[in-house]
Structure formats: structure tokens, C-alpha cells
Symmetry: C2
Subunit: 398 residues, 2 copies
């Protein structure tokens, strides 16, 4: 557990001032971009004062906003989105002070399962509801099933194909979640329904949007409006496997894009080639990772494909703490091009996804991958790394 919230702040406003000579105005919202006159209207959130700031170049890095359910009573006490450091602090305070016994999480994605772990650790009974027939929608159903089992084994009530209909509230506080199937009494509700690009400001300024309303950018991170740049969870990415624009809200992608935008705004030249859709998380000891295209994406692209799913161990079978790992990979039939992979398993399992991510970047075929000289010693892997066992399996079908 991280015991000091300050440690989660990478750079304070003073750091920007002192180390980089950058003036940071916190608690200030930009409400309008005037593209023609090269100026932005800023409003002090504490003072309410408005002013226009002139710019030569503008960088938009406003991130994403949580998707909220279309139900009323969402502003009642006890209902939290966990999308900012501040909202995390609020949930933590509520848990510490109110000592709730029950929590309901709406959405079984990354935020949902990570919050489930945190709440379980504090002895709270956790229910997850998800309108889909599986948790972890970025995994294929068979791999997500392994995550659901781990959640249930840890005591989480997982309710799938169940939709939020509203809240039962009393005195401005939530006291139950109402779904299309039941009423779940609870003191805390976590909304983990995903995010969407925070692109309203750009849209109002006439800056073109792309897929899922993310801001359209070129590979230098410039928007379609010259001199206006954007990066991070508010912009469109390019998917190197599907060769199509794609929306993903992840810190590691945002960070890379920000660096590219900074180099270019500063007069340099840099390009961001794209992403392959890698993500990782964990629930307790279970590591969950994915990269590339998942089955439904492959199908929607009408790619003829083959699949292999194998079970192995994270270390040599006889080695202590050799634990289960399941690897699933997909390849294009005929060409053998790797399309994607998913890994669910215990310690050491998840980061193996980086092998597949690296292979996807260069468009490797599974035939080329079969003799990858991956590291082997009994404390680290079986003689054939689980990733290679999956490759060996899929090669026969390509």
C-alpha cells in the first residue's frame, strides 16, 4: 500500500516553476479556444474570474472523463467515480471514516477489479455488476472467465448481464444499487464504466474529432488545426495491427505522445508511430495482460484467423512457486502474422505480454516466433516459455 498521497504527485506546480521555468495555473479551467484570434479563455475555479490568454502554439492535454450512467441521483453521497487523484482521496477518506461493510462496483473493467482488490483488503464485501456477459471487456470471454473465477474465489459477488437502473437514496446518501435483476444494499458505489475523451472544448473550437470523438492528430501530435497540438487520453491513436485509428486511454501512451508533442512544439521533429493495444493489471496475485487485437476486433476486420490457448507454469514445473499461467494467441490464417495475445496467471505471468507486444510492432509471423531465444532458467520459466508453447501450438494451424 502507498502510505503517503504526496508520493503520487509526480511534479508539484513549484517544481515546474523552479526546474523548467514553466508557469502553471492550477484550479484554472479553459472554457473556450478562439482559434482565429489565437487566444484561450481561462476561468479561475476558486475566484470565478475570467481572462483571455494569448497563444502562438496551443497544446491540449485535457485527458478523459469518466462515462457516467444515464440515471438520476448520481450526485448522492457515497457514489464515486475513481478517475482523478482527488476522487481516489475521497473514496479512501469515506472508507476510513465511515467504515462501510458493503460496496457495489458498476463495471468489471480495470478500475472495477483494481477497486475490488482495494476494498476487499479493508474487509468490505464487494459486488460487481456488469451489463456485458463477462468482466474485462478488453479480454476474450474465455480469458475473462479466469478473472471472474478469481474474483468469485476472493468472495466478490459478480453479477453479469445486469444493468444499473438507479440508486435507492436516503437523506442525500446512497443506500442501495438497483439493477434490472435485483436491489443490492450498499454504502459505497464505485463507477468504473470506462472513460471517453474530454474533447468538448476542442469540438466547440472547430478542431476536428475522430474515432469515438477523440481529437484527430497526425503522427507529430498536431491536430488538424495548424499550431494546435494535443496528446494523451483526449486524442486518437493509430493501431499498428489493425492499421486503423483507435482510442485508448492509458498513461504510458499519453506519456509517449506528450514527449513527441513537446519535441515538435519546441521546434524538433519526432513522430509517434502508434500502439498495439498493450495493457496490464492485476487482481490480488492474478496478473492479467493483453495486447494486439482481441477476437471480436479480428472478426470485425474480417480477418481469417487461428487461435491457440495453452496452460503452463510460470517457472519450471518442479520449481517451488511454479504457478499456473494461461496464454492465448491469435494469428492470421495463411500469412501467420501474429494478431494479438492475452495472458492470465500468477507472479511473472503478466509482463510476458511484452514479448508479444514487441513481436506485434515488427509484424512478426508465428513461424518467425517459434525459435525466439527467450530466457530460460528454472526459477524463471519452463524450458519452453509458455509464450513459445502457445506459438508452437498455433503454428500447426496457420
Amino acid at each position: 500500500m502507498v502510505d503517503n498521497i504526496e508520493r503520487l504527485v509526480t511534479r508539484a506546480p513549484e517544481t515546474f516553476r523552479q526546474d523548467y521555468n514553466i508557469e502553471v495555473h492550477v484550479l484554472t479551467e479553459v472554457t473556450e479556444i478562439d482559434v482565429k484570434n489565437r487566444r484561450a479563455r481561462a476561468r479561475g475555479l476558486d475566484t470565478g474570474e475570467e481572462r483571455w490568454e494569448a497563444f502562438d502554439k496551443l497544446m491540449i492535454a485535457v485527458g478523459a472523463v469518466p462515462i457516467h450512467p444515464k440515471v438520476t441521483d448520481i450526485d448522492n453521497e457515497g457514489i464515486y467515480g475513481v478517475n482523478t487523484l482527488q476522487s481516489g482521496i475521497e473514496v479512501r477518506r469515506a472508507v476510513d471514516e465511515k467504515r462501510p461493510s458493503h460496496a457495489v462496483i458498476v463495471g468489471g473493467g480495470y478500475i472495477g477489479i483494481e477497486m475490488a482488490e482495494a476494498l476487499l483488503l479493508r474487509g468490505i464485501h464487494v459486488s460487481i455488476i456488469d451489463k456485458m456477459p463477462q468482466v474485462m471487456n478488453t479480454l476474450d470471454a474465455d480469458m475473462a472467465q479466469l478473472v471472474a473465477e478469481a474474483l468469485r474465489n476472493a468472495g466478490v459477488d459478480v453479477h453479469l448481464e445486469e444493468s444499473l437502473e438507479g440508486f435507492d437514496t436516503h437523506d442525500g446518501r446512497v443506500r442501495a444499487v438497483i439493477t434490472d435483476k435485483r436491489t443490492l444494499p450498499t454504502e459505497i458505489v464505485i463507477l468504473g464504466m470506462g472513460v471517453r475523451p474530454n474533447s468538448g472544448l476542442a469540438k466547440r473550437a472547430g478542431i476536428p474529432l475522430g474515432v469515438r470523438d477523440a481529437i484527430k492528430v497526425n503522427n507529430r501530435m498536431e491536430t488538424m488545426t495548424p499550431g494546435i497540438w494535443a496528446a494523451g487520453d483526449c486524442v486518437e491513436s493509430f493501431h499498428l495491427v489493425s492499421r486503423q485509428p483507435f482510442y485508448v486511454a492509458l498513461g504510458t501512451v499519453a506519456n509517449k505522445q506528450g514527449r513527441i508533442a513537446g519535441i515538435n512544439i519546441g521546434g524538433g521533429h519526432a513522430a509517434f508511430t502508434g500502439v498495439v493495444g498493450t495493457a496490464i493489471t492485476k487482481f490480488k496475485d492474478l496478473e492479467i495482460a493483453r495486447t494486439g487485437l482481441q477476437q471480436k476486433e479480428i472478426e470485425s476486420l474480417h480477418l481469417d484467423h487461428v487461435t491457440a490457448t495453452i496452460k503452463s507454469t510460470t517457472r519450471a514445473g518442479y520449481y517451488p512457486s511454479a504457478d499456473p499461467i494461461t496464454v492465448k494467441i491469435m494469428a492470421e490464417k495463411g500469412s501467420g502474422r501474429l494478431l494479438g495475445g492475452q495472458i492470465v496467471g500468477y507472479e511473472g505471468a503478466g509482463k510476458r505480454i511484452d514479448i508479444l507486444a514487441t513481436a506485434l510492432h515488427t509484424g512478426m509471423t508465428v513461424d518467425e516466433m517459434i525459435h525466439l531465444d527467450l530466457s530460460y532458467a528454472p526459477p524463471f520459466a519452463p524450458v519452453w516459455d509458455p509464450v513459445l508453447i502457445a506459438v508452437r501450438q498455433i503454428v500447426k494451424q496457420v
Copy 2:
């Protein structure tokens, strides 16, 4: 600790017989191959009986033999090579029964440091002597220095640039190791001076040898003598980075080569493209991994190159158990082609070498690697994975 030696035997002779219909003759040594008459002479090690066995196709998989020092008295009790399961059993028995207080390990390579860990665990004082100015000769000196520090911090006496001159023995038992600098009293000596291909049998049969006297094979694992195949620690490999023949004795390579040989002998067609020189080990909690070419190999190939060495953490800096990791990578100047990498660090550090190994297989440049979409979440990595921090660093110099 693995508590049952049986668990280390992958397949017993009966398994071969029952499951694969393969007749296995254990305790039988082949002493001569008669290429012309397609027969091999076999001698029963227990009975002393000799016979000729006819073959249509012959597979040589005789592995490697330990390199022994050119000193006398090597056959005294208390001196062990640890290159077979049987020799491991003997050391284990000696430690259990004789309860020695001191051990000297000759050679600070993989066997040396793994044995140091095992002996320390049993409360034995360990000294390592190595004639080189560093331990772990397959790492560059700066990275090996981190391993030497860990050894010394754990209480191991590390004596570098010190050569074995002989043993002091009494009544057929070793009682000290004599080096060119000192005498080290000890009850146990472990010889970890590396291995060489067990190619004498092939050589006597006129089968051509290659680099370091390993048996020459083509990419189908056939020797230069038609119908005679070979794989594993007795054969030459092809190094995909140096584009030259190369000798490496590693289980994972042997296993891949054996599979290729088996497919081809069985009438199929398969080729082994080569290796990139990946290896991993650990000393206590410290993980040690390498791939590609090391500095001295790059220099001997006269490749103009650049280097970056960075220190980071295995997880997000604020995350509990974020531990140190050092990553060193090398790239060709001008082209930017990745040439090799080494990683020394704590839990989760070592297996990251597989990212570099995969990149080496496809000849990636560091420019192409800079935006590798590697998995990120605070329990698994900083926002920029340490591997990418090293890449970001080296790109500036290429």
C-alpha cells in the same frame, strides 16, 4: 527448494518405452561410430560387454563435458563438478552428511553463483575464485560488478584475477585450495569452469567440427556427414546478431534443436534459424540476464557502437517493492541496430531481457524500439519501462 530428486527427472526409461515405443539403453556408452558401415559400438558400463548396433540414421546428443583445471589431485574426495544430476546428488549428500563449514568455488559463472546461493543457504562459508578480473564473464565488466557486490554483501569472499594452482589434500580428501595468491582451507570444492562440447566421439568418426570443437551442423541439425544428426550442447549454433557460428550450452537451445532434429529425422522438414545468446540466472533475489552481443564481442567484430546504461525501478517508483534495476543496451552507430543488452535487478527485472531478445530476432533499430507499446501499470513497471528508458537514452547517441 526442490525436495524430491525424482521430480528433476523429466522422463524415465520406462516412459520412453511405454509412451513412445522407444527402447532406451541407460548405462551404455557409445565408444565408436563406424560411419562407413553405419554402425555404432556400445559398451555396457555395468557389464563391460561390447556390441555393435546398426543404424540407418544416427542422432548424436551427447551434450557437453565440464572443463577441468590442469592440476593434479582433482580426483580427491570433496572436489565436485556439478554438471549432471548425479554429481548434484553427490554434492548434496556430502553437504548433508559431512556438514562442511567452508566451500571454495572455482569459477564465478552461472554454476558458480548458483552453487554459492545453495551453499550459503546451508550456512556454509563460500569463497569464489576466478582468474578473470570479473565474475560472470558473459556480462560486461560494469554489469558483472553489480553481481560481485551482491555476492560480497551476502558474505561470499570473491577473489578475482586469481588462478587455481592446485589442492592441498590429506588421506584422499581435499583440505585446501591453493591459488597463485593464497591458500584457502576448505572441505568442499566446486568446479564451475564452464563446459566444452562432448565432441570426441564425433571427431574420431571423422564428422567435421566447428567453432570451439562443437559438431558442425546445418540448420536442419544434420552434421556434415549425411544421415548423422546432432543437437544440443555438443553442436555449433548460429548467432543471429553476429551472423557467425557460435557455441552455447543451454537447455532451452538444446531443446529447440532436438525438436528440429526429430522432425527432420522423422521425415518432416524444419529448420533452426539460430540464437541471439539469451541467458538468465539469479543470485538470491538478484536477477541477472543478458542477450545479444556483449561489449568484447562487439569490439572483436569491429562494429562501431554506442552504449546506454540506466538505473530505474522494477515498478512505479511510489509502489511498494519497487526495487532497483540496471539496464544496459548497445546499438550499432549509424544504423541504430540493437546489438545486445544486459539487465541486473530485483524481482521482475530479469525476464525483461525477452523484450530485447525479441527485438534482436527481427533486427530492430533502437529508433523503432523507442515507442514499443510495453505493458504498464504501477505494480509492474514505471510509466516508461526501464528497457524503454535505456532505449530513449541510446537513441540520442546513435
